[in-house]
């Protein structure tokens, strides 16, 4: 089992994994930085060896299998040995899902702002500015439209690297506009979740996005259009307590950590260790909260099948 991760540090917008050695590959934007860190991690023990070219090697956090990044990417960021699904970003999913990697990104002009003047150890505005300077991410969700084996689909995917993929006003508004787009063009809607939960820096406004997105799903439902919720590692809090669990189909990648309360909070509440596999996709499937688990390598085929079945 991979290292216990500090999900909450991500929600605080600190971004950096707690340990020096990273636990997973993050989104495409982060990968460059990540591999630099990984390289540092790998080279500590083999410092005398010839320097490995940057970004060439990748080590699986589950089974320690080492392969080239090209091999990993060709395998859709799934470990060729143990099937561990590395964390990837919105663009990676769009590339995987859409025909010929062709799609258009929508609503990218919406930006978060520090309406409340929220300051913890840093001001919210400063956090936003820093992420905008460091990455090409505009917020924690991107919306794209394109075809999957010739079938039109609207996809909203989260970027965990942007303040832990947190749910704020911008995600709520992009989600809402994506639903409107689906209704206008009579298209099914896929949301790929990967989030620590609500964006605390937006206080009650972030809470209300749970209501806003659910209200939009009500309109999508009235239009008779399917909503597919794909949950990936990790999906917590406000996401799982709103649209994440409201799919006509709820599906998940294997081994993803999914829940309402985070493992730390539950552990502190019940004062016991959590059983192995707790809050993993397979656990949710067993308890009846998922329709099925889908391997990333057959995601495109499954989506095609879903769309075809709903159409036919």
């Amino acid at each position: 089992m991979k290292n216990e991760e500090d999900l909450e540090a991500n929600l605080a917008g600190d971004g950096q994994p707690a340990s020096e050695e990273p636990t997973s590959v993050e989104s495409s934007e982060a990968r460059e930085r990540w591999f630099q860190r990984l390289r540092k991690g790998i080279l500590t023990s083999t410092a005398d060896k010839k320097e490995t070219p940057e970004g060439l090697w990748s080590k699986c956090p589950e089974c320690n299998y080492i392969c080239t990044t090209t091999e990993l990417k060709e395998n859709l960021f799934v470990c060729p040995k143990c099937n561990y699904h590395h964390r990837i970003g919105s663009i990676d999913y769009f590339d995987i899902i859409f025909d010929n990697k062709e799609y258009s990104i929508h609503f990218d002009n919406i930006r978060s702002k520090d309406f409340l003047g929220f300051t913890d150890l840093k001001s919210y505005q400063k956090r936003l500015d820093e992420i905008h300077a460091k990455t090409t991410l505009k917020d924690s969700m991107r919306v794209a439209t394109g075809n999957v084996n010739g079938n039109g689909l609207v996809v909203a995917a989260m970027d965990f690297e942007f303040i832990g993929g947190s749910l704020g006003s911008v995600m709520g508004e992009k989600f809402a506009r994506a639903v409107d787009y689906c209704i206008e063009h009579k298209l099914p809607y896929l949301v790929i979740s990967k989030s620590g939960g609500a964006r605390m820096m937006e206080s009650a406004f972030s809470l209300m996005q749970m209501a806003k997105t659910s209200g939009k799903l009500s309109q999508l439902s009235d239009a008779g259009l399917p909503f597919i919720s794909l949950l990936t590692d990790p999906t917590f809090g406000g996401i799982s307590a709103s649209f994440g669990m409201l799919g006509d189909l709820n599906i998940a990648e294997p081994g993803a950590l999914i829940g309402f309360a985070g493992p730390r909070v539950i552990k502190e509440t019940i004062k016991k260790d959590l059983p192995p596999g707790f809050q993993r996709s397979e656990f949710l499937l067993d308890h009846g909260f998922l329709d099925f688990i889908v391997d990333r390598k057959i995601l495109r085929d499954k989506l095609t099948q879903i769309i075809t079945l709903f159409k036919g």
Partner: protein, 323 residues
């Protein structure tokens, strides 16, 4: 309602306790010396009234949070008892069990049948445990939804009273789908054909509150708080320390005044001087006036329009820049 000396006093309420103690002394002196001290006692009683008003007129956000958790503060069933007649409590989610942290049932409010639903806290150690400190499990949210559907079937309006430190973060709660239960409620509440009025009466913490918090009118009591996370948990995550809860409470802008100014709640329900714990009947009466007014307003709208208005109301919430 507890009377002095059984009242409990928060640190910023200590001046009131001192006044009560002075009254006690005067009464003892009067008893011993057979001198009439009623004038002085009356003056001290007036001073208590003034102090109550004075305290709630300038509370910090954190003190407001403390007041919302005051051990003498009335809870859901108390308000139902004081506001309504013929209350019939209904139990169970028809599936797993009856969650004692979520209560509900039909009652008559001003002669009309209304479904009341709310989180329930306990007022002593034993009851607090029974009520799980007002933290529902998934079956609590499913019980609430069952009662809402029952009300919808018989075309009765719904009033929810919100008072929770959060949905219970337990192992079984996860097994039984805490996230799904809350999500389902939010979704279904958006689509209810009957009027829905929500009142935040104490603690409005996160998804656990919103799970019964989607309605046509959202009311909030003067000394309640409502936001995405408790100040303590926010402090732990963002400041990496439990100690910054006061600052977190300020930054979260969680008071009724903040929420009203943001347009996230529609109306502030005033409380008796010093807070609802000083006068249960008075607090209930003020709440009843607000609920009846809100109900009268939303009843005039046709069900379909009411639903689309409800969705649009929440869709307007948020702030962003558009480049």
């Amino acid at each position: 309602m507890p009377q002095y000396p059984n009242r409990q006093f928060l640190d910023f309420e200590q001046p009131i306790k001192t006044l009560y103690e002075e009254i006690d002394k005067l009464k003892q002196t009067a008893e011993k010396s057979k001198i009439d001290m009623s004038d002085s006692i009356r003056k001290l009683e007036d001073a208590i009234d003034d102090k109550r008003k004075d305290i709630t007129s300038h509370l910090t956000p954190w003190q407001r949070v403390q007041l919302s958790r005051h051990p003498d503060r009335p809870y859901t069933l108390k308000y139902i008892e004081k506001m309504t007649t013929a209350f019939m409590e209904l139990y169970g989610d028809r599936n797993v069990k009856d969650d004692k942290a979520m209560v509900g049932g039909f009652a008559q409010l001003d002669g009309e049948t209304v479904m009341f639903i709310g989180q329930q806290k306990g007022s002593n150690t034993k009851m607090r445990q029974l009520r799980n400190f007002g933290m529902p499990n998934p079956e609590g949210y499913r019980k609430a939804l069952r009662l809402m559907k029952l009300a919808e079937k018989f075309n009765k309006p719904i009033v929810t009273l919100i008072d929770t430190p959060g949905a219970f973060p337990g192992l079984e709660a996860e097994e039984r789908g805490q996230g799904e239960a809350i999500a389902r409620n939010i979704y279904e509440m958006m689509r209810l054909k009957v009027p829905v009025i929500c009142v935040i009466i104490g603690e409005g913490a996160s998804g656990g509150a919103l799970g019964i918090g989607v309605g046509d009118k959202i009311l909030m009591m003067e000394n309640a708080w409502y936001t995405v996370i408790s100040p303590e948990n926010c402090s732990t995550i963002l400041w990496r320390s439990w100690e910054k809860k006061e600052v977190a409470a300020e930054q979260l802008k969680l008071t009724a005044t903040n929420m009203k100014n943001f347009g996230l709640v529609d109306e502030i329900v005033p409380e008796p001087a010093g807070g609802a714990h000083w006068d249960y009947a008075g607090a209930a009466e003020l709440m009843k006036i607000s609920i009846l007014r809100a109900l009268a307003e939303v009843k005039q709208v046709a069900p379909d329009t009411r639903i689309s208005n409800r969705i649009n109301k929440f869709c307007k919430m948020g702030f962003w820049d558009e480049l």
